[in-house]
């Protein structure tokens, strides 16, 4: 029986995280469709989605048979690696150490690469195009599956988490069809920051549960973990910006002296 009162958090986390993945997959599908044709682009995308569906159907039910504390430890650990990786990147992008993720630039790069590969006007099927979208949908889709499992498996929230991911897919595909361009205006870094915080907080919470910790405030510890990691992120942005400024100053002084 689903506890819809607690379903909000997995729905939101799954929706936001999946939104980012669907946007990235959409960019590749749009690039392939524009340069190589929509039939192979959509065929590859459907193939990738179908393959993923089979994988989930085969292995998904096995997740329910794993003892809860092992599930909490494994999923908690994976969520921490995944969420902290996103958080680290969002902090470095905000501090200006890394460039912002640019869907338009990725779209231009992909279309240029696809054009240089030559068109397949006389071939029956453009397998390069099919493979490109198959791979993109498969890999981004794997992340969506992981996110749904990670946010939904432990608290019997797979259905709400799946609904969140599905809603993200509908929104992105709908926008993609309407706009016919990469969704460059999606505030991807802010989304990744928020999702990184949520997934890292959940990861720490479930790992702790799996290890037998007693969290202060029990479920209320999750917002506390989000707040702690948010504070750490802000400190990280400040220190990274400072270090970047100092490094830039040192290299320009060295350049002037030399």
């Amino acid at each position: 029986m689903i506890d819809w009162a607690h379903a909000g958090t997995p729905i939101v986390a799954s929706f936001l995280a999946s939104l980012v993945e669907f946007v990235e997959a959409l960019t590749i599908v749009l690039a392939v469709g524009t340069v190589r044709g929509w039939r192979p682009a959509i065929a590859g995308a459907i193939g990738g989605a179908a393959f993923l569906t089979v994988v989930v159907a085969l292995f998904g039910p096995a997740v329910g048979r794993v003892p809860l504390h092992y599930l909490q430890m494994v999923i908690g650990t994976l969520l921490l690696f995944f969420g902290l990786r996103w958080l680290r990147k969002a902090v470095l992008r905000t501090a200006g150490v890394l460039t912002m993720h640019d869907e338009e630039a990725i779209y231009r790069r992909e279309t240029a690469a696809l054009r240089s590969g030559g068109t397949a006007e006389h071939a029956k099927t453009d397998w390069v195009a099919v493979a490109a979208t198959f791979k993109a949908v498969l890999l981004e889709g794997l992340e969506v599956v992981f996110i749904v499992l990670a946010t939904g498996a432990v608290g019997h929230m797979l259905v709400p988490a799946s609904l969140g991911a599905a809603a993200a897919g509908v929104v992105v595909i709908g926008c993609g069809i309407a706009v016919h361009r990469p969704l460059a205006r999606v505030p991807e870094n802010a989304l990744k920051w928020a999702v990184g915080l949520l997934l890292s907080a959940f990861g720490a919470f479930w790992l702790g549960e799996g290890l037998g910790y007693r969290w202060p405030g029990e479920d209320l510890a999750v917002p506390g973990l989000v707040a702690m990691l948010l504070a750490a992120s802000w400190v990280g942005v400040a220190l990274a910006s400072q270090a970047r400024g100092a490094a830039a100053g040192a290299s320009s002084s060295a350049g002037a002296a030399g």
Binding site: T77, R88, L92, F205, R214
Partner: protein, 68 residues
């Protein structure tokens, strides 16, 4: 077979991007699982200790990454 290697590499990349960051997290998680109980840290403090350690690892890594 190269597509299998590519796929494995991509899946690995979902969880590990900066090796030192991932290694620090892994070591801290191991410490949380083994050292904290061995040191008789009260159960209600182990969670906050886990979180503080992760926050410190994040701050240290982004500061070091900015200097590179």
């Amino acid at each position: 077979m190269s597509w299998i290697a590519t796929t494995v590499r991509e899946i690995w990349g979902l969880f590990v991007e900066d090796g030192s960051f991932a290694a620090a997290i892994a070591l801290w998680l191991l410490a949380a699982a083994v050292v904290l109980p061995a040191a008789h840290v009260p159960v209600q403090w182990r969670g906050p200790a886990l979180a503080l350690g992760l926050a410190a690892i994040l701050i240290e890594n982004v500061r070091r990454s900015a200097r590179r």
